[in-house]
Symmetry: C2
Subunit: 349 residues, 2 copies
Amino acid sequence: MPAKRTIPTLDDVALAAGVSTATVSRCLNAPERVVKATRDRVLTVVQTLGYTPNFGARAMAARRTSTIGAIIPTMNNAIFARGLQAFQEQLHKRGYTLLVSSTSYRPELEEEQIRALIARGADGLLLIGYERDPAIYDYLATRDVPALIAWANERDRPEPAIGFDNRACMRALAQTVWDYGHRQIGVISATTKGNDRALRRVEGIRDTFLDRGLPPQNLSVVETPYSIKNGGAAFASLMATATPPTVVMCGNDVLAVGAIGRAQAMNLNIPEDVSITGFDDIELARIVMPPLTTVRVPHQKMGRRSADALIDMVETRTATRFAALKAKVKIRASLGKIATVADGKTAQD
Amino acid sequence: MPAKRTIPTLDDVALAAGVSTATVSRCLNAPERVVKATRDRVLTVVQTLGYTPNFGARAMAARRTSTIGAIIPTMNNAIFARGLQAFQEQLHKRGYTLLVSSTSYRPELEEEQIRALIARGADGLLLIGYERDPAIYDYLATRDVPALIAWANERDRPEPAIGFDNRACMRALAQTVWDYGHRQIGVISATTKGNDRALRRVEGIRDTFLDRGLPPQNLSVVETPYSIKNGGAAFASLMATATPPTVVMCGNDVLAVGAIGRAQAMNLNIPEDVSITGFDDIELARIVMPPLTTVRVPHQKMGRRSADALIDMVETRTATRFAALKAKVKIRASLGKIATVADGKTAQD
DNA sequence: TTGTAGGCGTTATCAC
DNA sequence: GTGATAACGCCTACAA
């Protein structure tokens, strides 16, 4: 009647199976190098004893962990959730485990978290966006830990990255907005400090409108941390000006949903009184009334590809550059047309 | 010009600081046991070398990791996100790290994940709900890993749990629905197999209505996996019957949002044509039109308390029982009143 | 095909 | 207050 109060180790298994620890280890890590008879015997013992290898010991001896770390700004909303889920599923398929941690959009926390993940033995790292202290890139290099950037992809940066071109995507959406006749533009951006994706999106908006000759004073930008509530407040402040915008372009869907909610509270009709756009195309974008015009980001594909790319980097010790993923403008009811005098039309549509 | 291609270890630090590895270790783990002069010297070296302790080695030597594992059904929606975020923040405050993994609502995956987290050295585990193979509880006991149950709390179960009473909460909501005059009830539940929270919620609904004498045939329940889309489909099937319900009570807000969307697509007015209720009070519940009547779960408090409780269990090796948290019915526009003949009123309100 | 033995980087128990 | 030194559990040459 063995009161198994102790955790079985490789030794216990070896002893019970009448083989050496080396053989047990092989049965687990390279089964083909053990003859079937012994392998079966060993695996049975593993089962009955309920043996599980100790991760720390294994990591130390093998000097790798089959673990990938990811550091994302937040798990609080759907923006990263879908991509992360796909990332983790693909990792799992290829025999890797995911370690997540989040910075709560405080970039200064990222370095500590990178260290923590590396200390935990992460074989590779997924990071969001390009912008971070160069010392971090140095650190990654000295530790020889491959890192892949996601949610962004800029043509002129050398780091391996799987994502879309935030600036070009927003430029495309802004073009649609321009084509719809809007000439008085409000922008609600996430805080751009330490967030290159947010910055690029604002730049994309500027590109389009200023290139087409919009007077700079017709384009007003406010920054605020991502949240539904902040989106609402920023919207109110934009609408409170002498010449309120006919369209408010938001840095992401969460801000846009906040703006829509506030607009309704202010008894403004969308898109008759004001149009609103987002970015990401999270589930909320279709639920909200009216449905949100936004940019559809290929979250799943991005997650899956990132997993494959990062594992390749880890296993082959090489780094490649990747082409940007496509993200398409998705027009829904929250964006309406403005009839310009030149068009000879009568009113908003 | 040292080309530091190697990762610094405790030995390197000890060597450079001219002390023993034991002293370096103490500087890091019990600074008060080292005289200030040496401590400063050592810590400087740690800085300049960029030393980070190796997690695996540390875990092996110290036989603990300051790591807590959590296994949740999904990270895909907001249901667990808020509580988990609070959980992780509180863990962080107390010097612990969180390891998450998700089962995608497939209970049979839980055991493997528990093993994986324990193999990774989790000092304690957070699990959702009570229902699981008894063998799992045995395993946890032999491995001597404390586990805390969250998102549920049943008076007559001995396991330590921090959460609310799903059955009682849903009973309270059902009471409100009853008071509003509804006598033809539709229920959309998550799959109850392997999900005690979902089962208890349905039971809560039955409790209220059957106790008050509602004929069983006036209460129809459909089960479907959690998702907005499935919620919509289930709603359509409930409404397609000969005597469609005047209210559809959903097992959570995600299903309810799906139901609302489908109702709109079917040109049904809420609550005039049919009322809809949810459970959880996630952000979506306030965004959706009309806003959703639901049960407000204290996610943050639950997360925070769970962290404290679990750390206490780990550090003191004791287990206590906890009282259920309160969750309140939150009435919003998606629930309307039915005028009964007895009330002498005229119509729906 | 299988066994032996050294080493991975820490912590903790002792002496000093 | 500080320094040796023995675990900790596993992997992997290398040898048999």
